[in-house]
Amino acid sequence: MIGSRLARHRAPRMSIHDQVITFIRNPEPGRFDALGVAVFRHQYDHVPAYRKYCAARGCKPSEVGVLAEVPPVSTVGFKYSELMSDEFSQEAGGLVFTTSGTTQSSELRGRHFVARPDVYRESAVRHLRAMLFPDVERISIVALHPAADAMAESSLAQMISWAVEEFGAPASACFATRARIDVPAAVDSLRAFAARGEPVCVLGTTAAFAALFDHLGDGAMAIRLTPGSRMMDTGGAKGQLAPLVQEDVMALAGARLGIEPYCVINEYGMTELCSQLYDSTALNSPGANGAASRTKIAPPWMRPFALDPVTLTALPDGNIGVLAFFDLANVSSVSAVMTEDFGIIERGGVRVLGRAASGDSRGCALGIGEFAAVSTRPRVASTRARMRAAR
């Protein structure tokens, strides 16, 4: 008896990473805040750049008792500083993901140093299961974005690889390289699945779907995928000359691929976060309403906030603010991340309103957005750099 009690005492205390993995596997909402504060303190101790940032903001971990007091790091922080844990080691399996960038030089791309990809995978896979694959064990996946073997620095590529490994049927295939998407081959593959009566899941950026829809054109070229087929797009307007809005994507997915609207799932994610949000639809949320009232659902180990940009305090539900997240799955980097998107928190979901614009119309005064559009020099600030169209 005494011996077993001593053994319990001597048992090594569960690491913060393992506590997070345990939470992801078995979420207990009542523990979120306490675990979050513990994660913050761990990050303060182990991420030197974050420690400096907290000090600059006058934040002392000993005085942080609730999540609302944890200083959020703007996504620009990932670009201008190495927010790397002293536990990070590529030799030990740590991964580095970089944000996309089309108009900025590579040194200005954000970098996310993920010391524990196993936590990342646990988070990504579990929420994918809940939101995109709640009704199937495995399904053939057609990827319109490179997988991790072809684009190791892309977090979207990594997620696609994990999705194929965890949920993909043997006929799954990827039709994109770093250089291009082989749209005709993807279309041939989709026709073959349709001919066999086999449902399929198509994954890619919204821009890739735009290319696919464009290739299929109107009418005769359309494919009628088998019921149960689904798609996940991400990245919004990035890379598109004439951006498709969500309603366009759903309409085109129905008209050109035969995918039911409730099986069209938009993902909101970014390189700097190990957890993602997905549209709530009847596929994953019984009783979910139609497209107009869709919100995005975060996993139980991630808490969204709409922040007042003046005070950086969380606004009450229903108010527009700058979206921020406390993501426990970011345990090996920084969990409190402030995005550059506006949004609203409502009924536990997130309504993403889009990028906090700097291109406001300023009458006779030249605004940032207009200047960026006319200036030919390389820009420090690139619009939509963090939305991960091609993570």
Binding site: A56, S74, Y80, E82, P309, V322, A356, A365, G367
Partner: protein, 426 residues
């Protein structure tokens, strides 16, 4: 003929409070055509340029009078819609109207070429009173004017027109102010068809859209900066130079094309420029006490300022030679960024301070905004050297620090096309 004796500059506006209102919403094209017809009829009644100058002089005097009830109501109303403090509006409007003296109006009236035409003005909404130079010039030239006030700021020009009418109805009949949504392109097209010349202010997309159907005089969006010569940003001159720049940054909440967004300090070392940034931060603190920033910033502006701050903060933490000085609640922001080329800020008293070694480097740093530069203030023992260089970059107004919001009446705004129309050689 001098009509000043017949005009009472104070009485109509300084008397009992009256209801200040925004421009009348335009119902339809017919109402606009009727208004233009009435203006044309008014133009058949001869009103000498001197009398117009006197009327305008009296109008500006009342608008400058801080005891004027109409002015107070006008500024309160603008403050309610913009969120800007009354004290800030008071000082900003004073600065804008300072050059509009009777003497300056008389002098300009003698130089203008008569235009018995009707001009249409599409006014910007970013700053109350922006466009007043051109409107004044048109009226002095004897033209009739129909104004489309901006939906964001429909008060100023309506009250200006009212004040003119109350002082001299025969001049007031030449000016009508309406408001309509910019989406009503049919009404804008009607205005274009009804007038001899369209004069438009706004961002370039607005100007381009209006120019699609014919020639206009367009005042597109522009940017301003300040330059501190090597002798101005240190020693005994430091505080006064920083205070003057802080004033230029603060007025109109940095929303106008005349507001500086970046200060270039000529110095052999970055320490001098950094010292100027510290001094500027101190002066912006003083201005924030005297002319409080908005209690509540628009969400997009707040997010943009937050972003600027976070970029600066993280660049500094990452070892960059950047320093951030920040007022409470995003009230003002100074970013010391020595190597930066000119870039617009989100406004609301957000300004960069950079270092230049010499005039050539200044020109290189301003080059990204070449053709889009409006004003540059210069503090130097030899301002002419800078002024000539600035003009070569297309700068239309070179001033002393602290005077950027007060360009003279013959300011060649946007390159001087309006002056040309009025027959004035700058």
């Amino acid at each position: 003929m001098k009509a000043a004796s017949a005009l009472s500059s104070e009485a109509p506006l300084a008397g009992a409070a009256r209801s200040v209102r925004g421009a009348r919403p335009l119902r339809d094209a017919t109402e606009l055509r009727d208004a233009v017809s009435r203006i044309r009829a008014a133009l058949t009644r001869d009103v000498p340029a001197e009398r117009i100058a006197d009327t305008l002089g009296a109008t500006f005097e009342t608008l400058r009078s801080r005891t004027s009830a109409a002015r107070r109501d006008t500024l309160r109303k603008i403050g309610r819609s913009s969120g800007w403090s009354y004290a800030l509006l008071d000082e900003s409007v004073d600065a804008l109207l300072r050059p509009f003296t009777r003497r300056a109006l008389d002098a300009l009236a003698e130089r203008v070429r008569a235009r018995r035409e009707v001009f249409g003005f599409v006014m910007p909404g970013n700053v109350p009173g922006a466009g007043i130079h051109e409107l004044t010039l048109a009226l002095l030239a004897g033209a009739g004017v129909v104004v489309k006030a901006a939906s964001a700021e429909p008060v100023f020009f309506n009250e200006f027109a009212r004040a003119i009418s109350e002082i001299d109805r025969s001049v007031g009949e030449r000016l009508t102010v309406f408001a309509w949504d910019r989406g009503r392109s049919d009404l804008t097209a009607t205005m274009r068809e009804s007038v001899e010349c369209l004069i438009a202010f706004g961002d370039h997309s607005t100007i381009d859209a209006l120019a699609r159907d014919g020639r206009i005089i367009g005042f597109g969006s522009r940017l301003s900066a300040a330059v501190m010569g090597s002798d101005a940003a240190c020693g005994a001159n430091l505080e006064s130079a920083a205070s003057a720049v802080a004033r230029d940054v603060t007025l109109f909440e940095q929303h106008g094309c005349l507001s500086p967004h970046q200060v270039f300090v000529e110095a052999a070392s970055t320490d001098t420029a950094r010292g100027f940034a510290v001094a500027l931060a101190g002066e912006l603190t003083k201005y924030a006490r005297r002319l409080p920033p908005p209690a509540r910033l628009p969400l997009e502006a707040a997010a943009a300022i937050r972003r600027e701050r976070e970029v600066a903060r993280w660049r500094a933490l990452g070892g960059g030679e950047v320093a951030l000085f920040e007022g409470r609640r995003l009230g003002w922001t100074v970013i010391f960024d020595p190597a930066a080329s000119i870039t617009p800020s989100p406004g609301y008293r957000t300004v960069r301070v950079s270092v230049i070694a010499n005039l050539d480097e200044l020109k290189a740093r301003l080059a990204p905004a070449s053709g889009r530069l409006e004003a540059v203030s210069v503090a130097s023992g030899n301002p002419e050297a800078y002024a000539a260089a600035m003009r070569s970059l297309g700068v239309t107004y070179v001033s002393a620090p602290g005077a950027m919001q007060s360009p003279p009446l013959d300011w060649p705004h946007g390159g001087g096309a309006m002056l040309e129309l009025a027959g004035i050689t700058p």
